[in-house]
Amino acid sequence: MEMVNIKINGIPVSAPKGSTILEAARIAGTEIPTLCFLKDINEIGACRICVVEVKGAKSLVASCVYPINEGMEVFTNTPKVIESRKQTLQLILSNHDRKCLSCVRSGNCELQALCKYYGVDDEGYYDGVRDRYEIDYSAAHMIRDNNKCILCRRCSAVCEKVQGIGVIGANERGFRTNISSPFEMGLGETSCVSCGQCIAVCPTGAITEKDNTAEVFKALADDTKTVIVQTAPAVRAALAEEFGNPIGTNAEGKMAAALRRLGFDKVFDTDFGADLTIMEEAHEFVERVKNGGKLPMITSCSPGWVKYCEHYFPDMTENLSSCKSPMQMFGATVKTYYAEKMGLDPKDIVVVAVMPCTAKKFEIGRDDMSAAGVADVDFAITTRELARMINRAGIQFNSLPEEKFDDPLGISTGAGVIFGATGGVMEAALRTAVETLTGEELPALDFVDVRGTQGIKEATYNVAGMDIKVAVASGLSNARELLKKVKNGEADYHFIEIMGCPGGCVNGGGQPQQPGYVRNTTDIKALRAKVLYDIDASMPVRKSHENEAIKQLYSEYFGEPGSEKAHHVLHTTYVKRGLYD
């Protein structure tokens, strides 16, 4: 690799040719602050926070996009640089709704952090003309408040480039520039899929999930209700970050303890729902293969992906597995089987789902998601909202003991927990489908070809004399690329797993927000996924069909996978949606 030698603040440093000043400075141990910059996603040098002085240059340069060249001398912290950053922050604040006390991002707002570093207070002496924008509440899952927007364009970049959607972007020009949807549509009127990746990258409180914590607290205080919580696999891989722990900390035990202390009557696990999904989905797949059903069959666990399919590939909704997602299956099972077993009226049960996902807030309101005549799931809250509840309740998360989920719907397998990482559903399904098709026990359970954080993965497995071709995609741009190949006849997969968010649920739109510099320098997806694969490896049971609680559920209630009763409770239907209506 060709190296370039430069000096950062007088310290010689050698960096690969083509590096930016920002990257070279990092090698030299100096972190230059950024605000709009997201590596490979939003490299537009727009916010001017990362400016530095380059010897001989006429003006300050944006280090995030400025390439280094031999002999360059860079100064990252001169009075001129600091004054410029300070002024930029003041200009941003002059048109910013400074409601920091009540803002949900207070404490992890990137703008607030920079203002603190640079001594920019919120006095109004630099106030100028202020824009006032109507807040967009139209989407089921999120709120867009342009009054807190700093026009960094991270949201629109992630929406268009990573997810291939592009329903929000910069409109108008100059002082009137604002992030919005075409023709002033509310986000709920667009083909937004509710993935929440824009929330995950927003540096301020301009884009936030719709917070349901107050409703959940209210339900918990209501003695007439049995309040049951379920937690998605990926939540345990990230929740600890909200309490200052490193990325990649397993929070399963403390999370169960915290939920119990919040007052949930039963602390169950969506992993059980995941095992149940595998039973139904593997059965459906085997049936489709045997009976010439629609192939490739595509997983339907990710509500962002499902909505994307409905908007962008409406002619492929028959390819979607008719299985409800694990969250919905879990809720439906609680309000039918469990209610019957415990002698409860489904109307008196409140199911709260803790999810790494914002699209789950949309999913719970879909048609055909009420097996017992009432909603399968009452509230879907994000990992962040759970952390908010824990803090509000004064629970000292880090000092909690490790506790277990309750029986029987807290019993799960290694197959269930890996649902939270891209390739996990495929691997879990293969563990069950292969044994079903061959009638023999698998010698090795690890399907490593479908693991890893690459956007698209492919593998072929010879099962009972037949080549089963599978593919896995995460992130909707990747999904689109894969599906185009399928539509054009360039690929003939049997089974495809698609997750809406890059890396799968561990990197979901409802997960703890990590600031830009962490996102730019850390493989967050891989660290969180490792938590799940480690849990899987340590589980005594790693195949969904060997989950004793699942076996009991089928023998007591559903009979067989794919039975009429199972279809009524655990399966759903899809809608062919247009793009702009």
Partner: protein, 165 residues
Amino acid sequence: MGKKTSTIPFNGTPEQEAKLREIISAHKADKGALMPVLQQAQEVYGYLPIEVQEIIAKEMDIPLEKIYGVVTFYSQFSLNPKGKYTISVCLGTACYVKGSGDIFNKISEVLGIKGGETTPDGKFSLVDCRCIGACGLAPVMTVNDDVYGRLTVDEIAGILEKYQD
């Protein structure tokens, strides 16, 4: 918040659409073809309503938002058709000081449209402009080629009355 499109019903003809599709396919292979396509589309339709932008979005495989972003960035693009009569109110310094802002608001109120919009019957468009060189007559407005100076808010209804044909 909510979808806002032109108040004038879209009256695109099949001929116009065929022409639009021709323009798009002529540029399909070019990178950065959106600008020329939008310019030529506006020549065909006179403006760029949602119906036209949707065709461009679909055919060029570009998100509608991106197209709308470009259309609203450049002032040469219009989201509304021009009315039979274009009312242009000068908001330049002299006229503004003499109260042309109130004139503009009054017209907006009487016609029920904002700047840049056209009345649903296609008769009037309302725009603002900067200095038409008649500062001595401030505040000034024009209705097509007719100039009205030393305006007062009370005169507006009467002036609009003249354009009922």
